[in-house]
Each structure stands twice: as C-alpha cells, then as structure tokens.
Amino acid sequence: MKDIRFEGIGKAFPTRGGGQFVALDDVTLTVAEREFVAVVGPSGSGKTTLMRMAAGLDHPTSGQVAVGGKRVTAPGPDRAVVFQQFALFPWKTVRENIAFGLRCQGAPRAKQDEVVARYLRLMNMEGTEDRYPHQLSGGMQQRVAIARSYAIEPDVLLMDEPFGALDAQTRTVMQEELVRLTRREPRTTLFITHAVEEAVYLSDRVVVLARDPGRLREIVDIRPTRIAEGWDEMAIDAVMDLPSFTHLRTHVWRLLRDQIRPDD
C-alpha cells in the first residue's frame, strides 16, 4: 500500500488577455496508507484537477504529486480511477470489464475468473457477468466500475464523484456498500465529491477546498468520532441521525457556505 503526497501543487492556465487563471495554489496534502480522504469544495476549487494529477491524467504547473514516494508522471495501474460517468467499455460484458485490468497485467484466466466471481459476489451482482453495460442500471454500472478498479488491487484508489450521476436512493445504497468494501479491503483512497454528507459518512478525513484560487481551507478529522461511535456497524440513516454526525456535517457545510456566491 502507498500514500499520496501533494507537495505545493499549483495549476495555472494562461488567459486570453495575457494574464493567468490560477486553478490551484500551493496545495500540500498527504493521504496516508489505507486512509480514506474525501475532498469537498465549490465548483472551480480544483478538486477534480487534484484527483487527475494523482492519476497522471493532468499535470501541475508547480509542485509535485508523489505516490508511494515516486513522482507521478503518467497513468498507471497502481492508481485506479473510478469516474463519475462510469466509463465502462460498452463493447465488453460485465465480466470482461471487471477483468480488464487483470488482463492488462497478464493474469492467468483462472485468477481473472476468481477475482470477477469474488467482486460480483461482494457487489451482489451474481448472474450479470454476461450482460453489456447498457443492460444495467446506473447503480449497477458504477458497481462494475468500482469492481474493475478494486480488481487490480491498486495501491491507490481515486474516485471522481463516483455517485454523482446516480439517483438519491441508489446513491445511499452505494455509499453503504462502499463503506462495507473499504472497511473490508482498506485502500488509500482519494474521494472527490460535492456532497457534504457523503464525504463525512465515508471518510477518515474531509479536506475542504476554497476557490479563486483553489486552495486548502481546512481538514476535518472524522475518524476518531467514527471509531468511537462505531458508525461502520450502523445503517447509514442511523449514522446520519447522530448528533456527532450532524455536528461534523454542519461544520463542513459552513466552511463551504461562506464561499458560495449567488450565481451558483
């Protein structure tokens, strides 16, 4: 397992007038091994850019991102990404989608079958292995995408608003399932979202970003409360009724609210 270190990350784009638009300014942040960190922030605070940098899909103009002490320069299977729009291969069945990364690694067929079967079971999706993505609901498609990323046992999981395209009920079910999965197989996870409750419920720490320019606002520690009150053993609605949860959620929400402008 590896950690993710963002060291003095800056990202600037030249603007038409010859000036500069600063998307991210001096963000320093570490996601420890096996830690689940959620990043929230208003739109334009650069949270997705941060994730894409860790994936190697985008590059900082200053500072550097290191995963497991090694500087990130290009995408690699040690950093699997779950995308908001699922990004399943429409021409591959559920089985082929989940096994994709393993095939890239040259894993033997038996190992592929075993891993696929295991995740189908974990995701309550047995019997769907020969379907194509368009034959699945949105929630099931995202389960497949999550399984595809978990299947290669990446050192780091990067999730870019993975539940953003799902309806409210499916979203809640998926949040519970992700908690179940991450507590069973903890991985270093960077989870991008704009949903405050989701961030507080899922993570060890919540990173709040500010915008114009995108920068670190505050880091809220959730883990001690979660462990002390045993959130992981409770249903999601029960957790969300707890005073401690409400308190943390409101705290994060206030950090975001003073940044929201009327045009949002």
Binding site: A55, G56, L57, A74, P75, G76, P77, R79, A80, V81, F83, Q85, F86, A87, L88, F89, P90, W91, K92, F100, G101, C104, Q105, N124, T128, R131, Y132, P133, H134, Q135, L136, S137, G138, G139, M140, Q141, R148, S149, I152, L158, A165, V173
Partner: protein, 283 residues
C-alpha cells in the same frame, strides 16, 4: 437488487433508465404490419405501372416499357443474354468488380483512417494531400484510369478504389477522434498499453462510424462502377445499359437498372448483417 429485463430494449444509451412500458410497445407496430403495408405499396406501384403503360396507354412504350415488355426483356436477358452475356454473367461480372474495388478501398482506407486518428503527426502529413484530392468527384478519375489501364477490369477496380477510399478514411478518422476520452483514460489508468488501447478501446469505439464509412463506400462503389462501365467496358451491367441505350431498348434499360438496384440493396444488406454481428453491444 435485480436488474429489469432489458432484452427487448434496443440501443439504450449507457446509464439511461429503461424506457417506460408504453414506449417499449411502440416498435411492436413493426414486423407483421410493416411488411403488409410495404407489400401493399409495392403492389399499388405495379398496378399504377400497368395502368399507365398498358391499361390507358398514357405512357408510350418507346418512353417506358409496359410490364409485359419488361418481362419479355428479362426473359431474353436470362435465356439468350444481352451485350455479350446472360443476366447472371453480367451481374456477377459487375458484382465481382464492386467487391474487389470495395475490398481494396477498405483494406487501405480503414488503416489509414486509424493512423490519422491516433497520430497527429500522420494527420499533419497526410491531411493536406487528402484535402486536395477529396473534392475531385470519383467519376472524374475514369478517363485517367482508362488511359492508364484501358477498358478492362483493372481500370474499373482502380476507379472504385478511388471512389470508395475517401469515405472509408474520413469516417474511420472521425470515428477514432470521437472515441470517448474518458474511456481512453479509463483504459490507461487500468494498465492498458498502446496496443491494447488501439485494439480494445479505439477500434471498437470507432466501429459504428467505420461502418457508416463502409456503407458510403459501398454505395460509391456501385455508382462509379456503373458509370465506368457506361463510359467503356466489355462486360457488366453498365455495358448492358449502354448497349440497350444504343439499341433504343427501354425495356432492357429498365431490366439492367432494376438488377443494379437489387444488387446494391443486397450487398448493403450483407454489410448491415456484418455490422449487427460485429457490434453486438448495440442491439
């Protein structure tokens, strides 16, 4: 959680919810009634043809043949032959040339389109030449092809190649550029190398557009073949058309036209079938 059975649903977009029942029932209007309506309209057309040429004599036989004359010409073509061969010989001659020219165009055009789509360098190198050649109508190549290769089959294949090449290249190229960037990113973050990226992501992603190009190429193949045979040939349906025109034989002209139409439709149908089999995730 069990998924709804979507086996009846066609072409749903990824992530789209299943259409409500009422919407699903619509295409059911389909098959049985549709063929019936189609058969009726065809029958109506035949009756109209008979009425105009035979029943009322509004259209003179030297302008357009009556059904009986058409039948007579067809019989003559099938049994005795016309312009150097029977219907089957002439039809096969033309079809074979179309398939050869089309195959050469696809085998060269699709890889070139792929190359231009994935490599900006190849695109920069080839695009200017392509833009220059592209506006030349395929038929304008016929004289040059005859000068180079004479009136035989080789000239026909060359002209079909020129005509069918462009749609194959352009649509493949467009298809490659239209492949969802997120899918490419997803493949890379899960460890795909460039070879696997090409064969398992870019080509399948571009396949629907590639087939659009192939359909256009096939149409262009038939058009140019007939034109080339009209200009000068020893065999083929275009040659039949030319001979019938010289003999002022409208019945034989229409027989040859219908033959070309049927062959064009049949080959397009075959291509559609290949597409359906190669793109199972869409149906």
């Amino acid at each position: 959680m069990s998924a709804p059975d979507l086996s009846v649903q066609r072409r749903a977009d990824a992530g789209a919810p299943a259409p409500p029942r009422a919407a699903r029932r619509l295409p059911r209007f389909g098959i049985g009634r549709r063929t019936l309506v189609g058969a009726l309209s065809l029958l109506g057309l035949l009756v109209l043809w008979w009425v105009l040429t035979t029943g009322t004599g509004l259209v003179a036989p030297y302008r357009f043949p009556s059904p009986a004359e058409f039948r007579g010409a067809l019989d003559q073509f099938v049994t005795d032959g016309y312009a150097g061969g029977t219907l089957w010989v002439q039809a096969w001659h033309s079809t074979r040339l179309v398939l050869m020219g089309f195959a050469v165009a696809v085998v060269t055009g699709v890889p070139l389109g792929l190359l231009m789509g994935v490599s900006p360098r190849a695109e920069a190198l080839l695009n200017p030449a392509f833009l220059l050649v592209r506006p030349i109508p395929p038929l304008a190549w016929i004289p040059l092809a005859i000068v180079w290769l004479g009136l035989g089959d080789a000239a026909k294949v060359l002209v079909i190649w020129f005509a069918a090449f462009v749609p194959s290249v352009i649509n493949t190229w467009t298809g490659v550029r239209g492949v969802d960037r997120t899918l490419i990113a997803a493949a890379r973050v899960h460890g795909a190398g460039s070879r696997r990226l090409l064969t398992e992501v870019i080509i399948p992603g571009a396949l629907p557009m590639i087939f659009t190009g192939l359909r256009l190429s096939l149409q262009a193949s038939w058009t140019t073949l007939v034109a080339a045979e009209l200009v000068g040939a020893f065999f083929g349906l275009g040659r039949v058309l030319d001979a019938a025109y010289r003999d002022i034989n409208p019945a034989m002209i229409t027989v040859a036209m219908v033959a070309v139409g049927i062959l064009g439709a049949a080959t397009t149908r075959l291509l559609g079938e290949a597409e359906r089999r190669l793109i199972p995730w869409r149906s």
